[in-house]
Amino acid sequence: MKQVQDLNKLEQMVGTREKEPSSPNPFVRSQSLVFFSTRKRRLTLISFSLLALVFTLIICVTFGSVAVPFATTFKVIWNHTIGLLWPLAPDYTKGMDTIIWQIRLPRLVLAACVGAGLAGSGAIYQGLFRNPLADPYLVGVAQGAAVGAVAAIVLPLPAFIYAAGAVQWGAFLGAIAAVAIVYNLARVSGEIGNTTLLLAGVAIGSLGAAVTTLLTYLHNEKLATIYGWLLGGFNASGSWDNVSMMFPYLAIGAVISLLAGRRLNVLQMGEEQAMQLGLNVSLLKLILVIAATLMAAAAVSVSGIIGFVGLVVPHLVRMLTGQDYRQLLPLSLVWGGIFMVLTDSIARTVLSPAELPVSIITAFFGGPFFIYILRRRRKFQGRQA
C-alpha cells in the first residue's frame, strides 16, 4: 500500500517536471506534448488502435496473390466462425476456402502477433534500460535464435524431431539461452547494470553471429534452407498451428506489460530514485526481461529474423502519443501488429505470385517514415522553445 502511495506521489512530481524546458536528448525525457495521459484519453487511444488493427486485418485479407471477391472472403470467414451456428450457403470452391481460411487469414493473424511481440518487447527493453537503442535483438534474441535454428537445420537429427518442428524450437530455445547468458554475464554482485547488459548483449550477439556463419560455412549444402530461414517472413509459417504456438507467450507478455506500465514510468526517474521509493528494481527487471524475451523469442521462432519493428514501432508510438508507459506498452503491441500486417501484405502482393522478404519492406518503409517523424518533432520542439 505504501508503495502505491509513493508511486502516486512520484507521478505528481514527474507531472510537474513537464513544465520545465525539454531535455536536449530527444528520447530521454518529455518530448511529447503530454507526458502523462488521463485514463480516459488512454482508453480511447487504445480502443481506437484496436479498431484500427481489426480494420487493417479486414482490408488486408481481401487482397492477395490469388484474387478472391470480398463477399466470398466474408462468407468463408463467417462460415468458419459465427457461421458454425448460423451457416451461410457456401457458394465458393474448396480452393477459395483453403486460400482464405488456411493460408491468408492465419498468415495475417500470425504477422499481427509477431509484430505485436517484437514491438511490445522493444518497448519493454527501451523502458527497462532507459536506452533508445534497446530492442529485442540488442540483447541477443536474433543471434541466439539464428544459432538455434541453423544448428537444427544442419545437425543430422532423427526425422521425428524434425517432424516436431526442430527448427522452430531450436530458434525459440536459442533466443532464450542467449538472453539468459547475457543476463547472467551482466550480473555484477547481484545487480544488473544497464551498460553491462547491453555490452554483454553485443558480445554474445557477435559470438552467435560467428557461430551461425561457421555452421553455414561448414554446411554449404543446406545454404538455401539456412538462407530462407534467416530472411524471415510468413510465407511458409503462416498457419493456425503457429498462431496457437505464439499466442500464449504474447498473452503473457501483454498482460505483464499492461501491469508494469506505472512501474516503468517510475523507473524512468532513475534506478536509485525508484528504489528509494520502494520499487523492487531487480525483481521488476527480471520479470520484464522474461516477459519481453518470451514474446520476442516466440515471434522470431515462427517468423525468422525480421529487423526494425522492435526498434522503430515503440519510438513512433512514443513520438506520436507520449512517454507514458501505461499507454506506450499496449499501443506498441497493437501498432506493431498493424505495421507488420501492412508490410507483410506488401511483401506478399507486390511481386505476386513471387514473394518479397518482409524484412526488406519493414526497413524500406519504416526507416524513412521514422526519419520524417523524428525531424518533424524536432522542428516542432525547436519552434516551441
Binding site: V211, N220, Y227, G228, L351
Partner: protein, 385 residues
C-alpha cells in the same frame, strides 16, 4: 565460492562451444547429410541475391548457342517421327540423331593450336597446346572432365567433387567461396575450369596470376553438350567428346521418346526449401523439368529462383511436387504431406511428392541427363517401370 560463481556464469558459453563441436563432428561423420553434396544451382540462388553482380546466370557463348540450336533442331525433327516407329528403329534413329547433332555442330577433327575459344562468361581464351594439368572448381566440371576421359589430367578439384570415386584421390583446393588460391597456383595448372558459382573476384585473382581460366556455365541442357564439344576441342579429344555427347543426347532422346506416349504434361512445383523458394524460367532445372515432360507452375518470374507465394502454389494446383534435396532433415515429402492448407493440392491428395537426388539435378554436367530421367520417372511412373 568465487570460483563456483564464475563457473556458473561461464557454463552457457561452454555449452555453446560443445554445440559447435558437435555440429563440426556431425559434418565430418554424418552419413545422412554428406558435407560434400554441394548444390551449384541452389548455391547460385543465394549468391545471386547476396551479391548480384558476381554471378552471371544466363551467359552463353556464340559457339554454345549455335551448337545448341543445331542440336535442338537435329533432335526434334526425328523425335516426332520416332513416336510411331518400332523399338529397334528408334535406337537407330537416336544414334543417327546424336551423330548428326555433333557433325552439324561443326568440325570434329583434331584441334589446330594455337586455339582461341570463347567461354560461357563471354571471355575469350587462347591455348597454345592441349592442357595437361587441369584444376576443376565445381563438381559439374569434374564430372565433365571424367566423361571426356580427361580424369588423369586433373591435378586438383573443389571439395564438393565426389563423382566418380576416383575424385577422392585428387588434391582438394577448397569450396566455392573459399578456394585456396595458393594451392591452385602451387599445382601449376595450365587450365582452371571455373563455373557459374565461381566469384568474379576469384576469377580476377586467378587471371592476375597468369592462369588460363575457362568458365563453364551452361544455361540449358543443350549448353552441357556444347561444353562437352568445347572441352573436347580445347583438350584435343574430339572423339571422346563426340562419344560423351552421343551418350548424353541419347539418354535425353530416349526420355523424349518415352514421354511422347503421355497424353498431358503434369504441372510441377519444384521446392528448393521450406520457405518455398523454387525454380523459374531461365534456370537450368526449369529446362530439365521441361525436357522431362513436365510443366513448371512458375511461368513468369522476375528472377530464375523466385520465392513463390503459398496461395499461388495452392491455386496453381501442381500434380507433382519435386523436392530438390533428398538428404532429409528440415524438408521431406512427409512434411509437405502434412502442411496445413495443402491437402487439396492434387500432388498431396495423390501422394505424388518425390525428393530427387540433389547431385543429379543441381550439377549442369554429364549426369544432368540422369537427373532429367529421375524427374521423368517421378512425373510418369507408369512409363518408366
Amino acid at each position: 565460492m568465487l570460483m563456483r560463481k564464475r563457473l556458473f556464469q561461464i557454463w552457457p558459453l561452454m555449452a555453446l562451444l560443445v554445440m559447435l563441436l558437435l555440429a563440426a563432428c556431425g559434418d565430418a561423420t554424418a552419413t545422412t547429410a554428406p558435407a560434400a553434396v554441394a548444390t551449384t544451382a541452389r548455391a547460385t540462388t543465394a549468391a545471386a541475391t547476396t551479391n548480384a553482380p558476381t554471378t552471371t546466370t544466363v551467359a552463353t557463348t556464340t559457339a554454345a548457342t549455335t551448337a545448341a540450336a543445331t542440336t535442338a533442331s537435329a533432335t526434334t525433327a526425328p523425335a516426332t517421327t520416332m513416336a510411331t516407329t518400332t523399338a529397334p528403329a528408334t535406337t537407330a534413329a537416336i544414334a543417327t540423331t546424336a551423330a548428326s547433332a555433333t557433325t552439324a555442330a561443326g568440325k570434329s577433327g583434331p584441334t589446330n593450336y594455337p586455339l582461341s575459344i570463347s567461354d560461357d562468361a563471354k571471355r575469350s581464351v587462347k591455348f597454345d597446346k592441349a592442357p595437361s594439368k587441369i584444376v576443376s572448381l565445381a563438381p559439374s566440371n569434374t564430372e565433365l572432365l571424367y566423361a571426356l576421359g580427361l580424369g588423369d589430367k586433373i591435378v586438383g578439384v573443389d571439395e564438393y567433387s565426389n563423382y566418380p570415386d576416383d575424385t577422392k584421390q585428387k588434391e582438394k583446393v577448397g569450396g566455392f567461396s573459399n578456394t585456396n588460391i595458393e594451392k591452385v597456383v602451387a599445382l601449376n595448372p595450365d587450365l582452371v575450369l571455373a563455373a557459374g558459382i565461381t566469384s568474379k573476384q576469384l576469377l580476377t585473382s586467378l587471371e592476375t596470376r597468369n592462369l588460363t581460366v575457362v568458365v563453364l556455365d551452361p544455361p540449358t541442357l543443350a549448353g552441357v553438350a556444347a561444353n562437352m564439344k568445347l572441352l573436347g576441342q580445347i583438350a584435343n579429344v574430339p572423339d571422346k567428346a563426340e562419344a560423351a555427347i552421343s551418350a548424353f543426347q541419347g539418354k535425353l532422346d530416349s526420355i523424349a521418346v518415352k514421354i511422347k506416349e503421355a497424353k498431358a504434361k503434369p504441372r510441377v512445383f519444384y521446392e528448393l526449401d521450406p520457405t518455398l523458394f523454387t525454380v523459374g524460367p531461365g534456370s537450368f532445372i526449369d529446362d530439365m523439368i521441361q525436357k522431362a515432360g513436365g510443366q513448371n507452375i512458375v511461368t513468369d518470374a522476375s528472377n530464375p529462383y523466385p520465392q513463390l507465394n503459398q496461395e499461388a502454389v495452392v491455386s496453381k494446383d501442381p500434380e507433382v511436387i519435386l523436392l530438390g534435396d533428398d538428404s532429409g532433415g528440415v524438408d521431406s515429402p512427409e512434411k509437405i504431406l502434412s502442411r496445413p492448407g495443402w491437402e487439396n493440392i492434387s500432388a498431396v491428395k495423390n501422394k505424388r511428392i518425390t525428393a530427387v537426388n540433389a547431385d543429379l539435378v543441381n550439377r549442369p554436367g554429364p549426369r544432368a541427363a540422369l537427373g532429367v530421367e529421375a524427374i521423368a520417372k517421378a512425373l510418369y511412373p507408369d512409363l518408366f517401370k
